[in-house]
Symmetry: C2
Subunit: 188 residues, 2 copies
DNA sequence: TAGGTTTACCTAGAGGTACTAGGCAAATGA
DNA sequence: TCATTTGCCTAGTACCTCTAGGTAAACCTA
């Protein structure tokens, strides 16, 4: 019987695409096996278990998102950079909801230590060079920025903003404006 | 055989407690049935299905959180109110991680229409009366506030802030300070 | 309080998912 | 060409969701 040519990377890629279609929580080893036309038991020689698969998707998505953010950030500074950063973040979440959800799972310490998430912190620190912030304010600002962007995207995806006629796009623009003026005049 | 005296409310309560112990995603109908010493099939005369159970936990938790926030908000205004609001929010998430996770699921339109989530918006609008904000800025501010608080709590729970020595508590205090000064000087 | 009605819980079973053990055959390389 | 590796298999366990249909406990109501 012909082999399907499955590798861990192909599985991760397919899992990411599946996540965008059906939601990260609905990505199953069985569904993935069906997609490749093999039995689910066959996948366990490529991935350790379902958690391992999810972690791989998370790490890959974090890297993908960081690449995108880095590209958008290049050549920009100050408010332009902040807007590009925020839009890149939200754009990725809109385009790849499953992968975005994957980036939000808690990674076990040794996986996190591979620097999958650290790159995002570094990019954010680079962004903050356009503002006059130094430690420990810089770390506080990184955390606040991540919180607000993730929170907005997360609530928007959950449909929390649907109940009011005010445009979600307009609120987003104002939120980024507000963050800009906040970073510019960081309270002492 | 003696009856266990199960009702939908008792199931919801037990599911909420179970969620806090093992995580909202790990709450199963089977585990709940074991907890009451009955067969899992027996629960389906009280709840429609697993999704229904999760929704009930979400609605109950939203109400519980709103009660707590309302109590903390009483008699306070301005920055004191904002701090109480934020701390109530984060405190609930820390004390009841499973229930907090439940409040973040997307409710189907008719469930949401029961006003489970609207109360939070109303409480936030009440809080903003201490600041000088009117529509549409008020809605933008409500969304920003929710985003930042939820984002912070969510990232903190996911362990995203562990990688840096700066205290999570200190950053939280500064984040609330920052939100206060932002609301005070909302950009035009 | 005896009757019938309601309903709380049951057994049985189908179907989905995660995962392990052990086997065979296709691909690899000496 | 033969040995080794390895990709995919079958078989089987365990847990989860949910349905259909049955029995007995609890509850009216006459």
């Amino acid at each position: 019987m012909a082999r399907a040519g499955i590798t861990a990377d192909r599985l991760t890629q397919a899992a990411a695409e599946l996540a965008d279609q059906v939601g990260f929580d609905n990505v199953t080893v069985s569904a993935l096996a069906r997609h490749f036309g093999v039995k689910d038991a066959s996948l366990y020689s490529h991935i350790r278990n379902a958690h391992d698969l999810r972690t791989r998707v998370a790490v890959q998505s974090l890297a993908e998102l960081a690449d995108r953010v880095a590209a958008e950030l290049a050549g920009r500074s100050g408010k332009q950079a902040l807007r590009a950063f925020a839009d890149a973040y939200r754009g990725y979440a809109k385009q790849h909801p499953g992968r975005y959800a994957a980036t939000r799972i808690a990674l076990d310490p040794d996986t996190a230590a591979t620097g999958a998430a650290e790159r995002h912190t570094e990019l954010t620190r680079a962004l903050l060079r356009g503002y006059d912030l130094w430690e420990p304010d810089q770390t506080d600002a990184v955390r606040l920025l991540h919180s607000t962007l993730h929170g907005y995207v997360s609530l928007e995806q959950a449909g929390a903003f649907h109940s009011h006629p005010r445009g979600v796009e307009a609120s987003w623009t104002r939120a980024v404006d507000a963050l800009d003026s906040l970073l510019r005049a960081w309270p002492a």
